[in-house]
Symmetry: C2
Subunit: 244 residues, 2 copies
């Protein structure tokens, strides 16, 4: 049952996320989808459209985690600098990719517009493509996957990656909703966590329909261990209040 | 007009964000509120409930940015490790704070429950408190502000901080919605950005009501410069399509 743990870091590139103008939803989608493929998101960073910062974040991430997934900054405008940043991070030049260029040329445009759009065809030398049925592709360079920031485009790019990722253990989860306050069950939960170290037990308080409660979330890759912990958690909280 | 730029990093602590189970909304709220006070969020990190990782992220952030704001991990259960992590990051012991303990003791409970809840009264030696009208306080240690993860609690804690923050330039923004594709205006926008370097010009494509468009967002601290750029952007995109 001790499958390898495969880890990932998500690097979200974009001033609009850091200004609060745009609410990121890509991290949650990536985390859920990647986990189904046996890749666990262990950290995320949100960085501005500033080359030095992006390069440093990508280089730190790609040497620390098995995979890195970036979102944002691959459009045709001056603030789309992700391709340059990845090339700089790997110390390779940007080159025009004819396969992406062909996709871009399918939609006719005056020369000036076409030249601007062709910015999206520049990828780091040695990179391979990430499919996008709707337009210009993303790319993979080493263990770094570079995708769009627009959620529906990011999602369709990600969907094409399953075969390229070598996954390990998949994290399964169980959750129990208990109408008790966290304090009432904290000691018992701490003891349960100690007795079941292979499963991670999270405790999240909530207030809903004028009642306080605690959502208990168990996560781990061993189904039998999860079941054992779930039984222990139920026992631990049953004394305190109603379980849902 | 060259007010000091005051920067911040947000450190979001919690496995539930990295698993995709919980959608973070604290970053966007923090970014918007802090900017109104002249503090610019320049980076964010999402880290798991793992002490070494939290300590490293906090130490990197507090030496790089003027302020650090953490969310999450200050409840009473075993997975709430933020106070320990901040103490470790600063190399000081955790101590029982009597002011927080008094708040916790207001709500009666059996000894075992009270002892668990009193975990929330432990703060790093030398920390000061962040008000919370609804329950146990958060705390400030040096330039690091430690707040709850539950959005409405984080928000009420943040609201109390205005007087403690020394802000600098406030970023103002203008936005223009243009029904043109990014490619059509990319070259013109790049030229506008070059001629107006003090204002940051972001370009965000969208698809709405079956029409493609581009949202142009200008951000900067100088109102006059913003107006000049807005006029230039309008001129640049007017040739391409309808402006809203």
């Amino acid at each position: 049952m001790s499958e390898r743990i495969v880890t990932a870091c998500v690097v979200i590139i974009g001033n609009e996320i850091l200004s609060g103008r745009t609410q990121d939803t890509n991290l949650a989608h990536l985390a859920k989808q990647l986990n189904e493929w046996g890749v666990q998101v262990r950290e995320a960073r949100v960085v501005p459209d500033v080359q030095d910062v992006v390069v440093a974040a990508v280089n730190a991430a790609r040497t620390t985690f098995d995979y890195v997934f970036t979102t944002g900054g691959i459009g045709p405008t001056h603030d789309d600098i992700t391709a340059e940043c990845i090339a700089a991070a790997f110390g390779v030049p940007l080159v025009m990719n004819e396969e992406i260029a062909a996709v871009i040329r399918r939609r006719p445009a005056p020369d000036a517009v076409m030249n601007a759009r062709l910015r999206m065809a520049r990828i780091p030398e040695g990179a391979t493509l990430i499919d996008n049925p709707w337009g210009p592709q993303g790319f993979r360079m080493g263990n770094v996957f570079v995708m769009a920031g627009i959620p529906r485009v990011m999602q369709v790019m990600l969907a094409s990656l399953e075969d390229q990722l070598e996954g390990g253990a998949v994290t399964r989860s169980r959750s129990i909703t208990a109408y008790v306050s966290e304090g009432e069950v904290a000691t018992a939960l701490g003891a349960v966590q100690e007795r079941h170290p292979t499963v991670e037990l999270g405790s999240y308080p909530f207030y809903r329909d004028e009642r306080y409660g605690t959502m208990l979330v168990m996560r781990g890759s061993d189904e039998a261990a999860l079941e054992r912990m779930a039984a222990a958690v139920k026992e631990a909280v049953a004394a305190g209040g109603e379980i849902e």
